[in-house]
Symmetry: C3
Subunit: 259 residues, 3 copies
């Protein structure tokens, strides 16, 4: 299967040539592939943020899309490299938990150890030297099988969508606007649950930002499908000093305690 789109995620930033070097390595094999940057502004070594971005990329793009995700603090160690078949797409990434959020949300995923290596490669930039060429080869229509060995269970981060009876959720991502995405799926909320509690405050669940006044906090089901905490026309993260891992209380259960 020849693929027409390859996306890229990394923590390389945009001030060096690193991202372009990965693109060059892909294009060498697949001059016609379309390259789409998801983000390269993942904080240095923030595997969890990359994991969220990767899941969104997998949700947005169609079957056959290839994804190269390189947040790789373990480069040069014995950490494996993965090729993951998931949501009818293929992800190439280090085996350090980066696949976790997508793995939790898309069923029937299969992970394989990527064993292909070039004749020569650096000890510090496997994104360019190993993973990008593989993406290029796949984009050019070469089969995956000769590049992998056995199916494996990938390393996972300690992060999951909240279960149906969970009394707490947790913040898994803070976006550019300061909106805080939680791990509480829309399905978690019965019709009766109209508020959540955050740092002792009750916050109403609404449909969209404009349901409240400018400067007012609200919760809503954002474009992610998960509950998000926002402040209209402002940053919820700043207002409430939110950080990854922060607890959000599902209010029906929360008469007495509050985070």
């Amino acid at each position: 299967m020849k693929s027409s789109i390859a996306t890229l995620i990394s923590d390389f930033g945009l001030s060096d040539a690193y991202v372009a070097e990965m693109k060059a390595a892909i294009l060498r094999h697949a001059p016609g592939v379309r390259l789409i940057d998801i983000t390269h502004d993942i904080s240095a070594q923030d595997v969890m943020a990359a994991s969220i971005a990767l899941q969104r990329a997998l949700a947005a793009f169609g079957p056959g899309t290839l994804h190269l995700a390189v947040v790789d603090p373990g480069v040069g160690t014995r950490r494996k490299v993965l090729a993951v078949k998931i949501n009818r797409q293929v992800v190439i990434c280090p085996d350090n938990g980066l696949i976790t959020w997508a793995w939790r949300l898309f069923p029937h995923a299969k992970a394989f150890e990527l064993t292909w290596r070039p004749g020569q490669f650096s000890n510090t930039f496997h994104g360019r030297d190993i993973m990008a060429p593989v993406v290029g080869m796949l984009a050019a229509g070469r089969p995956l099988n000769p590049l992998i060995s056995r199916q494996i269970e990938p390393v996972h981060l300690d992060i999951s969508p909240a279960g149906p009876s969970a009394k707490f959720g947790q913040i898994v991502h803070i976006d550019h606007f300061g909106n805080a995405m939680t791990n509480l799926p829309a399905t978690h909320f019965a019709g009766k649950i109209r508020t959540i509690r955050l740092r002792g405050k009750s916050i109403g669940i609404h449909k969209t930002y404009s349901d409240v006044k400018t400067g007012t906090a609200l919760a809503l089901f954002g474009s992610s499908g998960f509950l998000e905490i926002a402040v209209r026309d402002a940053s919820a993260a700043k207002r409430f000093s939110l950080g990854i891992g922060g607890r959000v209380l599902v209010a029906k259960m929360a008469r007495k305690s509050a985070t």
Copy 2:
């Protein structure tokens, strides 16, 4: 008309997957369109900055180009979505004033209410769910007519090029280098006007940065065609603490008063 180029402007930043999600929505309809980012670093909800960037995109690209501009604090309210035929190109954007600067500078523009909606869409991300698919459909050669209803007068920001007899201009944009672009068009300046006044200081009008010494302030007609305030090899915005809306005095008129 099948279009080969679609540009994107937003305030989404580059640290989340949002921009890529819009691109995915365009590519689903038009796999062959070329996507060009104008900027995604518009300050959150800064419709005016987006308006300037959009005008420059319309000036730079050729007939048939599509432009998706999403700075959309009113998402989820009753604010309309626009399809604007302008400078032989098409802009899709929220009807919140974003079209203003282009509307002022290009004649014969026509704005239509975009009424197409997908079967399902989020309340918080119309850029991805409504506007990007429309750009994709247009890029794929589908006609605009079935997607719009009537011609309307768009919402406008309070910003215009200074008229020919204006004694003051105002700063409308501050760029990456700290150069301040005003709304004073080159045509405003007769041969005799050789200086402007800014915060009580007289500043000479020159042809290019190197006409003055390093560290010296100057005014010049920048690549925008409007008068710009600069400091050679430094930031005029920092030097003079400039901000959007700041007044610039056309010096011929300005013997006694100064901003």
Copy 3:
């Protein structure tokens, strides 16, 4: 020769339309060329940083690639514009030293004065008005010869790879992660040299980050082929307050003195 890839380097940042305006100028001539951003986050007027990024782009991409590099504080002065044939690729850039690092590393380069000018052009944005159209014409398959005059010796920055007997190297680039790249090539280090000295401290040379503990400083031959100073999972630049030009002592020679 029709070229399929053109890369871009600038100090324009990503918050204005400038980069897109250059791309529009290229695409007007060569609608089918693939555009790859190397970086636009070069610090304002930092010709040396652009020089390093350009060399990496030339190392990464294949024969026939075109490179547009615009860090141009001298725009509007008599500084020349260059067309450089180097590593079987072509660079268009101002003649201000930007070519230096590539010129030092790739043999057989030839620089020509680019004399083509459009009928009309701004005094402040030759990247868009002169250099980008030339890249577009070359990408479209037009010959270089009619656009240039004579072969010239380009302006050079005071920066070179350290010679084989140098006792000191110097820091030439600090990357997004705070790794400091020096001008000491791998070939400089005999088997016996196992440490370098930096600000009075001895730092071991290793193969990869994970050879030391988190938080420990190390030197290694990074993806650039030059010695780099790093701290595992942290920023060497912050830890040691490193800056461009900082001296690194080759330890075999360094019994008594230290920077």
